[in-house]
């Protein structure tokens, strides 16, 4: 394990100092035809910070992550990763980014082991023996060592998600993005994923953006929380500020009451 450092992480493969990167979104707008998904979203994540993005289903969180890694071009506005435009293909060559997709998106034709080993093999960053060590360590962290030779079709939904997280860990990214990492997991595994995310920041100083509905995760590990509702960032602040907020939209999102006498879907119908 490389020694913790406050401003840089030591890449165990190359022994090179890899500085953490900052992310900035500037007036980001994304439309799909006439459907406006993101309406002028701006925020910044400092190097080595954990930013948790919360928001109701369909509010545009997954779309936002795709803009950050440069998979989709924004309609207007821009995303800067380490000061470079995210949509420029050269950015991916300069900055190691890993996105854990909501669905996991494992390579179905490869075994779990080969899924994890693909990145280091393709980029030729280590010998096969060193890769094996890295892969097995990543699988151990998510306690799935015994699935190395299985194929994604033989795993449960939650296991796939954990393997996807392990695959991102092997990449040793400077910027780590998770799309709902705990949504399919039991409470104990969820807590363990939260611990992994926080530990990575402590030990490797990885800049992290987590999309999650998990209040425990958000309030415990976030440095900053953003609330995206209807394509607009209606809140951006520390967990303490979020808890203290008196805004009824925010309090209702964080502590929705299940009201059997007066259900929401009936309110909508009238």
């Amino acid at each position: 394990m490389p020694s913790p450092s406050s401003s840089a992480t030591r890449n165990p493969f190359t022994e090179a100092e890899t500085p953490a990167v900052g992310v900035a979104l500037e007036h980001l707008v994304k439309d799909f035809g006439s459907h406006k998904v993101l309406k002028d979203v701006s925020f910044a994540v400092s190097p080595g910070e954990i930013f948790v993005l919360m928001g109701p289903s369909g509010s545009g969180k997954s779309v936002l992550l795709k803009q950050i890694v440069g998979l989709e071009a924004p309609t207007s506005g821009r995303v800067l990763v380490d000061g470079r435009d995210a949509i420029d293909p050269a950015t991916r060559e300069q900055v190691r980014m890993a996105l854990v997709f909501q669905s996991g998106a494992l390579f179905n034709s490869l075994s779990v082991y080969d899924n994890l080993a693909l990145y280091p093999r393709e980029h030729r960053v280590a010998s096969e023996a060193a890769i094996r060590e890295k892969v097995m360590r990543a699988l151990q962290i998510i306690s799935l060592e015994d699935t190395a030779d299985k194929f994604p079709s033989e795993l449960s939904g939650g296991m796939k998600k954990r393997v996807a997280i392990a695959r991102a860990l092997v990449m040793e990214p400077q910027l780590m993005l998770y799309d709902e990492p705990t949504s399919e997991l039991d409470p104990v595994t969820s807590a363990s994923i939260s611990e992994i995310i926080a530990t990575l920041r402590e030990e490797y100083h990885v800049t992290t953006i987590v999309v999650s509905h998990d209040r425990d995760l958000a309030l415990n590990i976030a440095d900053c929380i953003g609330l995206l509702i209807g394509g607009e960032l209606i809140f951006n602040g520390t967990p303490a500020e979020l808890r203290a907020s008196k805004d009824p939209v925010i309090t209702d999102f964080l502590n929705p009451k299940i009201d059997l006498k007066n259900p929401r879907f009936k309110k909508l119908a009238t």
């Binding site: 991916r92 890993a98 996105l99 998106a105 494992l106 179905n108 693909l118 393709e122 980029h123």
Partner: protein, 254 residues
Amino acid sequence: MKQITAILVGFGSTIQLLVRALSYTATLPRQWARFIEQCYLIGYTTLPIVAILSFFIGSVLALQAGYSMADFGAKEFIGTLVGLSMARELGPVMVAILVAGRVGSAIAAELASMKVYQEIDVLETMNIPPARMLVLPRLAAILVMMPVLAIIADLVGWYGGAIVAKYTHAIAIDPETYFAALRHFMKFKDVVNGLMKAEVFGFGVVLVSCNIGLNTSGGPREVGASVTKAVVVSLILILVADYFITDVLQQIFP
């Protein structure tokens, strides 16, 4: 108008994909395992059906030619007709059509489902270009396997014709006469022309299928649509290219 734009866009993106894949040619030696796997898949899936179909195409050519040529006493030349037709035209075109149906469709299905299930997106974020990892080894493999398949088709077709020529009562040409006629009028360039055609067809089919697969968008249902599209476009490509390549080759090697 919309269709014309769609065709032009498709053509443009195919050429772009080719350029991108070729720009990674230097990585081919370290992708050796993928290249061999693709050679095996292409050969393994098409060889049996190529053998069966070319046998019957050779036979039917001999049968048709035999009956009509017997009428004006030219049945000694059946070997020439079967030999030239297989080598110059039917061998390459038939192999290309089978490759479109078995290999092109499989490639389109595999890449389209990788796209739909976001595996391609993962490759992009890992900075592993799909053109390098998925397209290049397939293009290299088809270039190696296509001549092999075409030669096998030629040989099996010729022997199919020989068997029919010998055992059909109305024809009854023995193999010595058949192969003497085949050899006498067949030039080396006839076979080479055919192999060149096969090479172009196979390469086109794989490139087009890769491009259509990678450009799939939407849900799992689009995978099926992409497969159909890949096969249809490949077939059109083969038959249109056949005309023009034949014309060009005729002028280069008169």
